[in-house]
Symmetry: D2
Subunit: 339 residues, 4 copies
């Protein structure tokens, strides 16, 4: 079977990672084009990946390049628009999360996806493709913990990135949309249910600057699902030990915990600081296997003519709940979701 | 210095534990009297501990026995009344938690305690005296994690005790008062702040019987403090691995986690089930060191003429917040506390 | 039943610990006399424990004091002699390890013990009474790991004590007798077999001073047992993280590991140093439960007229194997034990 | 730069893994030919990897195929011969361990490698390329643990493979050559020193069948190095929990431990069996990252005209020490190595 011809769009830090994976490690993929508004990024693609078809204009790429699929690693604001254009050109689409920056936009993507049922549409909820998160799902499906009813999930970034993240709030959408969309998606996935209400609390405990942009550096959301199940979804931008993303699922027969200590690897150090483990520094380091696995799965879906486990509906839901959390936090009260 | 003459009241499972500690392991204590309405318990005290002064009536014991202090391990409903009587007799008082079963009762105890400033009054918040919980407080006081602003704390019992606990709901006051008073006390202690509002959710996910008594088998409460700090306080009565009481404190410079795996001891087993640790089965096993340490500290306070780190006010607050949680859970909405 | 009247001998750091346990925490014990050649230690016993019968001369104490038992926490050189004298006076004897500083001396103790079968003789192999080591024995006896055939056991002290330990070599007998007698005893206990040969290696890798006294700061001994079972017994005096005493037992169906991380308690710290656990600093801290449990068991044996699980033969064997290890290390070759 | 044209030789389980990596995941590699004496394996290569140049005869492949390099995943007995032939044809060579099945053969390979200094020769000591083992080396080089002087390293396979391994002894060379060559290589690498003597013990504790082929199912070797450093190298074929390969390095300032619990991934299960981690089942699962990394490094070395960190000398040493261990075990005494 011929390789899937892919054009990557956006070559920032994560874009470069995806591009390298698609070029070298994803079986059945041919990375044939790259698009970026940053000239240096296109130079990098030519020099390091040998890509000849380079574009500074997305529309032009869609028009001219010989593509089966696009891989969108652009800024959140354009994910929906770029997804729609590519779908309407008949291309398969991988888009980084979030699928869109507001709910109507997400729903529009959903409609366009529905109109193109033979094209693969893939939202990059990378954690579902991390080996540990995927293994937990498998154990749940095997009944190891009985019926799951409570998820606790958190996304935690190193404190040293906080200064950058403050500036990024206007485009990231704030801590709930930037950090917690993954946790929301995981909670829905593991519980098999939809969010009914959210109650968010938090504050700028370490960096006052978040307060001035109506955001927070640490938050907790108590989330209720339609069938009474619960999730506690937290975020922090003030960790000193590492990118501490972890998740617990409690069921009627047992509990699964995923990544409670964000160990960098299998090495432990015993010295004057105690018995300790070095930690992963960021999501790049933590989820390098997941980034590769999701890209491989995207290509496999295309080649095997099937849809991924993450749907456009999942993309909408994550954004919808993220906005409800933001509303709850800013209004200081519980927010109901419209079903 | 003469030993502190103590009369123990209540000789159920926990009462027996306390009695044995006071008899054999608490320096400076003389367990000289015992009171119980159960004849077999008094027989046990005579035969096993050699106690001669045995009473089936509390008032009679206060009247007749030569005591410096009472140690109350009776049912929750009589803690307040018995505390007050002993205080008014001029005795030092140790009472198991909760200090009282409603807030007015607790406040009455507080007033009587205030009227007897030279008597020691000690509420059995045993976790403060567990070596690990105490060590965490010491690290916080040393500034190891900067300013603490978020506590997560849970009390989790084995599923096999659920059937018993259902029957016990009318006297225990339900899951928030029975399990979470300890977590509430810890959160207040570590954060150094008072609870402002609670938002409780939960359900009878495993044992429907809890539902029929307006209680739950698994709960989560998002708790907000006066200064904007937060606590996530959880309870579960459906664990299969052990008595999983654990607590995390997040501060501006680091995180402390206490007891994340409720290991029975330092033994690990590597066999066909994987790499695993056996777990403690109940709070007796988990907190055996704390039960001894708190009794020793009670006696030390008496002999050194000082008050303990746990005050009657702490006892009132735990009960007050526990009731607010119960209200929030039953009403399905956030509840504000009156300051 | 009357309390067992005990005279403690030696009130150094460990002696004080034992004295406090006997005074306050050991049920059925009455600490009635103390003996020390150091005046300050006797003063301490009078002031802190209220002991009246104080002796600077062991023989005089045996002659004058009203005792049921002695508790020997003296220097290794006099353990055997003092044990024999007390046994011949009709007293029960607890002696700290080692039972004697050479094999003939140990064998003499064994003979005297055999002549006094109604007196309890107890060698302080404290690890057998540590809750985790005892639990491992129980699991082995239950068949959890099948037939045990390989023990790995180590005793590791903090580097900061090395300077002191160098000076102590002439009286401690060196690293094998000072540190490894416990590991030898554990290996014999868990494997249920006797040592046939030892092959010891090591060196002064960090502190050259050990070399000058024909000792080492780190050693490993491959030990073979009569039935072909094995033990790897190690010692180190150069740890920076804590008193890292740990033991593994491999059997035909599984493995038990005891104390792989010498955690101080259940607290974990997550900060700029990673995810870490503080460690116990010395054997006092690590084995405080064992010290109490062995003293209680000594008293229980006396009161219940039975012998402990540790025999004089065990004491001889540990010393015998310790000497064989020393010989092997100094001669640079395998040493066979005479059976 | 043109891709490195590689012919793979041997397509058993590990050969298939390498082939898939070379085909899909190794940047700069072109897997253009495959050789196997098993027809089904060649069919697999054609159908799954699309390889056209298929050979049942190694010499014919060397003669006819357009290759830059060979990748030898054949039986141990032919590694040396095939390496030499390829080197003499001017090809770069990757060979699985062991480099040869006796020392003279290894030394012959060394000589031929020396005669072809511009060709890359790479022995597959995969653990050096595992992220955790490589990170430990980096920490050692940074001085984190001071001067390393003691390595403990073990290779442990699941008991369920024992029956197969008994049959495999004649070709694998026994437990020391089959399992411990990796540990030997790691000890030399981390200690930076050469083995001076070995003292091996062991037995057939679980499977008598190993005894009948003069092998063992569990072994321990105390290994001394030229500068007095030590290694304890163990092997077991009777684990029930997983492929438990782990390594400790003790230095003058601290200790590193690698992979003490062979966790399958980051998931922990809390249920009726306790708090536990599932384990990796075999070296395929444990070292999947290492297999990819070493193949990538092989290709990088070729493209960057440099030699790998593993030399032919390392290959000889591992085999030499493995034989010395076997001799020591079979003769029951220490064996000196000729320097």
């Amino acid at each position: 079977m011929a390789a899937v011809k892919i054009g990557i769009v956006g070559l920032g830090r994560l874009g470069k990672r995806h591009a390298e994976n698609l070029k070298h490690k994803v079986s059945g993929a041919a990375l044939v084009a790259a698009c970026s508004v940053v000239k240096e990024e296109l130079d990098w693609a030519r020099e390091n990946l040998g890509i000849e078809a380079l574009y500074s204009n997305y529309d032009q790429m869609l028009e001219e390049a010989d593509l089966d699929a696009v891989f969108l690693v652009t800024s959140s604001a354009v994910h929906a628009e770029q997804s729609i254009k590519a779908l309407e050109k008949g291309l398969h689409v991988f888009t980084e999360k979030p699928m869109g920056v507001d709910v109507p936009e997400c729903q529009k993507v959903e409609r366009v996806v529905a109109e193109h049922p033979n094209q693969v549409f893939f939202v990059g909820f990378v954690r579902r493709f991390d080996p540990s998160y995927a293994y937990a799902k498998q154990l749940i499906d095997e009944g190891v913990i009985g019926e799951p009813f409570l998820v606790r999930s958190q996304t935690v970034d190193l404190d040293e990135y906080a200064e950058f993240q403050v500036k990024f709030v206007p485009t990231s959408g704030g801590i709930f949309l930037d950090c917690n969309v993954h946790d929301i998606d995981l909670a829905r996935w593991y519980l098999g249910s939809e969010v009914k209400s959210v109650y968010a609390k938090g504050g700028s405990y370490v960096h006052q600057a978040f307060d001035s942009v109506h955001d927070a550096d640490n938050t907790v959301v108590l989330t209720t699902f339609d069938d009474g199940k619960m999730a506690v979804i937290s975020a922090s931008r003030t960790a000193f030990h590492g990118h501490d993303t972890h998740t617990e699922i409690t069921g009627s027969k047992g509990i699964l915990k995923i990544g409670m200590t964000p160990a960098k690897n299998r090495v432990e150090v015993f010295d004057g600081h105690g018995a300790r483990t070095h930690c992963v520094r960021d999501f790049f380091e933590r989820f390098h296997e997941g980034f590769l696995a999701e890209a491989q799965e995207f290509v496999n879906c295309i080649r095997e003519n099937r849809q991924p486990i993450v749907s456009a509906f999942d993309g909408t839901k994550a954004t919808e709940v993220g906005f409800a959390m933001t509303d709850s936090f800013q209004q200081g009260k519980e927010v109901q979701l419209h079903s």
